[in-house]
Amino acid sequence: MTSVPPARAVHPLRRPVRALALLVLLGVAGFWAAKGAHRGWSQDRVPVPKTDEITGIPYTVYEDRYVPGVEVLAAGTALAAAIFGATFFLRTSPTRPPSSP
């Protein structure tokens, strides 16, 4: 007679935590995309090119607004991955089949 390994019960927090990881990933990606999907570093002020009408000199003015860069996307992805990875450590003790009388 072969012995059946005891089944492991899914930890009750595993699914909610994985959902949280997905939420973090989508939230950060959505924030990055909504703010312009800038593929460079984050910007605390955004350069706006202008030209002086009389002299033709190009110059730059800066608008004070935040644009998240790829490091924000990377950090959000890493955080989501870490939360997801943590769920593998959420375990319960093995459940044993009820003993026969």
Binding site: G40, S42, D44, D52, I54, G56, I57, Y59, T60
Partner: protein
């Protein structure tokens, strides 16, 4: 009586002509705040592009003799701006430009060579002393000077005078000026491109 009047008239005429031919002093502190030096450093992910708009200085320019141009342009290193505030802090910090100690970047024009003038436009090679982070080196920069007579009032209403636009583009090696020599070259290119486009004004009284 007549003989006394003629020399006086000639003297007045000579003074007028010499005054008209005198070099004009152009002030490069622009009232509209347009003047800036743009710099570009190739870097990981994207080039670092910024500006420094604290431009002052003066240039003596004679439209009739552009080759005799002299001048000095000063840029406040503390006015350096890049879009990322952390990068700006690093660039102004002690390891890079050390703007707390070396507040000014200067170019002192010694001479113009290969001067070619066509109408109001003059192209030349400007040789002078360039000082950055306390290190001074002689450099030569191709420049274009545009003399805009009586254009000052068009930019700044209520004023009267001439404008001189100076354009130039050149590169320097940051290591030559003690800016992280031989360091972080895989992260930030050792060559810095500088783009100058500034205007000076010479008011008329």
């Amino acid at each position: 009586m007549m003989t006394k009047r003629i020399p006086a008239s000639l003297l007045a005429l000579a003074l007028t002509v010499s005054a008209g031919a005198a070099p004009l002093a152009f002030d490069f502190k622009d009232p509209k705040g347009v003047n800036a030096i743009q710099f570009t450093l190739d870097s990981v992910l994207e080039p670092i592009v910024g500006t420094a708009n604290g431009v002052t200085g003066s240039v003596s320019f004679d439209p009739a003799a552009p080759a005799a141009t002299t001048g000095r342009i000063v840029v406040s290193a503390k006015s350096l701006v890049v879009p990322n505030a952390t990068q700006a802090g690093h660039l102004q910090g002690k390891d890079w430009l050390d703007t707390a100690t070396h507040g000014d970047i200067t170019f002192e024009l010694a001479k113009l060579a290969d001067v070619k003038t066509s109408g109001a436009e003059t192209t030349a090679t400007a040789t002078g002393r360039f000082t950055l982070k306390g290190v001074t080196k002689e450099i030569s920069v191709p420049v274009k000077l545009s003399y805009l007579a009586d254009a000052m009032g068009k930019r700044v209403p209520g004023t009267n005078g001439d404008l001189l636009v100076v354009r130039g583009e050149f590169s320097i090696k940051r290591g030559d000026y003690g800016i992280q020599p031989g360091q972080n070259e895989e992260m930030v290119n050792p060559v810095v491109k500088l783009n100058v486009a500034i205007v000076g004004s010479a008011p008329k009284r």
